[in-house]
Amino acid sequence: MEDAFIYEADGQTLIIHLPRELDHHNCKRLQYETDHLMAENYISRIIFDFTKTQFMDSSGIGILLNRYKQMGSGGGKTAFYGAGAQVMRVLKIAGIPGLMEPFETKESALLG
């Protein structure tokens, strides 16, 4: 029943493939799991993949903002791609595109 996240490492970059619905219920695991991954591995960049995400609310924004803070506020350390209409509107209202680099595809996000 629960949506699965999938974590993908590419050097020091962590790609987080977000679930279909990114709300408080589905965020609980993401929070725990990324903290764990970041404690065990040296991660200098996080890329969020919204390709499958059809719904996000402010709980999802909370998760994004905290990862952004953990990465430090330097340029390009967090990025995202694959945001659809609902997700993009939510990201914009929260001012995320000013903090994290938006990309169209995984390839362009990895190139940075």
Partner: protein, 141 residues
Amino acid sequence: MGKKETMSIRMDSLSKNEAFARVVTAVFASRLDPTLEELDDIKTAVSEAVTNAVIHGYQNGEGVIELEACAEDNVLTVIVRDAGVGIADVKKAMEPMFTTAEEEERSGLGFSFMEAFMDQVKVFSEPGKGTTVTMKKKIGR
């Protein structure tokens, strides 16, 4: 239209009911023939209000959340009610980025989202008694 149609639902304060509440509201709202964007707006606002009841109202403990939806003319009204801890200073609570649950990675944007996605948001709360959030949205401008 013209005639008022109402439904109300009572559910346990469980995080899985955040999704349940938004789907139920979206299915109910579909009788007003909304656009996909309007449906997304409604879902997001309901998700915020129900999540707040779960996390803040009942502090992740047991409780009952009431959701009422009403369709009249082209206006959808959604009321989310909890009998939880309540809010002492509603004005402060509604400020963007204000949160009392920093350690839970909350953004403090819940009320801002409700206001962004609905046309009107009213919050009535009494500490120790609970919180009622009333939201209105005109469908199909």
